[in-house]
Subunit: 223 residues, 2 copies
DNA sequence: TAGACTATTTTTAGATA
DNA sequence: ATATCTAAAAATAGTCT
């Protein structure tokens, strides 16, 4: 208390508007990263709490440490993004289920062939050449194709949401998993920032418009 | 200028401290989500610009629309998280390379068997029962096991960074891909929020301490 | 549905311990 | 590197347009 101070420069006179460029001072940069990372995670947490939404945040520090926030957890949110058309989206599980189905089919077929083989062994006879051929190689190739598609799909889904309702290859299993994008847009900020919005499933592109300007102060481009 | 107003309730008297629970009013909730999502992305963008770091944010709105922000893009950041020990981290490609290697091996084995089968056809002889058996089923099972591990690994990597240097199963291919985590901790907030920090590669756990209290106002737990 | 307004709250840069 | 402190800057809930 006591008398008035000099009214300015009491403690720190040099607190001015933030310079939106990379900070020069290395140690200040580190401190700012820590503070702002905490702030970012807090904002994400508040968003989830307040609106009941789900969010995941991944940040790599200048020193390349990975930090993540997720509600309910990063895994769940990432999976939702990977499988926008599955209500509880887990593409790994869906994929595995399909693989198991194929394997079961192959097992049945293998048994069939095994039966034939046994017949051959007993009766010195073997079916005309093609039943067994390609059983391993061709089927594995098929499976490999599925995996390749899976990988491509991963890249497509995660990295570039520019696929439209029918643009992408979709999942390799046409019948089982439908790729029902209602719509989606993607735009990349000139400086390398990327914003996306996509309407995963249901709620057709009717009422919602999916592109909005995003130049309220920190960039150009739209979602 | 002019006289003083009523000092309070000039425009909106009802702006008080934020209630950190899910909002009741549906339309207000939607508006708040939009505003806060923009704010969150802006914070992420500023963090990247200011400190030269990389970040990815994924948010699902209450209406289940997916929104994402990424710098340089979501794909890149997600891959870094998935493959912290690979310089250009793309585990999908590494996995596919391994699958192709296995398929090549199977193809060779398939040719071997095919040769035997032809011999059987010609000479009415067939190897003693086990060469062909399980060629399709067993090998596919093997491949399936690899895919299962892959899926588990995905889950482990993305969702729960509690695996230590040797705790997790790592990738199913011991030789090719080493799991060189320098260290990592994970903690889950009681209400279902998850915070993580991990030191991906190099920079051993020496100087950095990787757990910090995270109760500065919005939760408990540590990174 | 999407902006503008604005009183308040919240975040934060820099300094300091 | 972490915790406080503080003034200034930024975000934002509710309201109105």
């Amino acid at each position: 208390m006591s008398s008035s101070d000099q009214s300015q420069s009491k403690k720190n006179p040099s607190r001015r508007k933030v310079n939106m460029t990379k900070m020069e001072n290395e140690s200040n940069l580190q401190v700012t990263f820590s503070k702002r990372r905490v702030g970012l995670f807090k904002k994400a947490s508040e968003l989830c709490t307040l609106t009941g939404s789900e969010a995941a945040v991944v940040v790599f520090s200048p020193g390349n440490k990975a930090h993540s926030f997720g509600h309910p957890d990063v895994h769940t949110v990432a999976n939702k993004l990977l499988a926008p058309n599955s209500s509880h989206g887990n593409n790994e599980l869906k994929y595995l289920a399909e693989v198991e189905r194929q394997i079961e089919a192959e097992r049945a077929r293998g048994e069939e062939i095994e039966r034939m083989r046994k017949a051959c062994e007993k009766e010195k006879w073997f079916p005309s050449g093609d039943a067994m051929e390609g059983l391993s190689y061709q089927q594995l190739e098929h499976l490999k194709g599925a995996v390749v598609d899976f990988g491509k799909n991963l890249e497509t889904q995660v990295g570039r949401r520019d696929v439209g309702p029918g643009a992408g290859g979709g999942f390799p299993f046409g019948a089982g998993a439908r790729q029902d994008f209602a719509g989606g847009v993607s735009s990349e900020h000139a400086a390398g920032f990327q914003y996306n919005t996509v309407i995963p499933y249901d709620q057709g592109a009717g009422e919602e418009d999916m592109s909005q300007d995003f130049n309220a102060g920190y960039g150009r481009g739209h979602f």
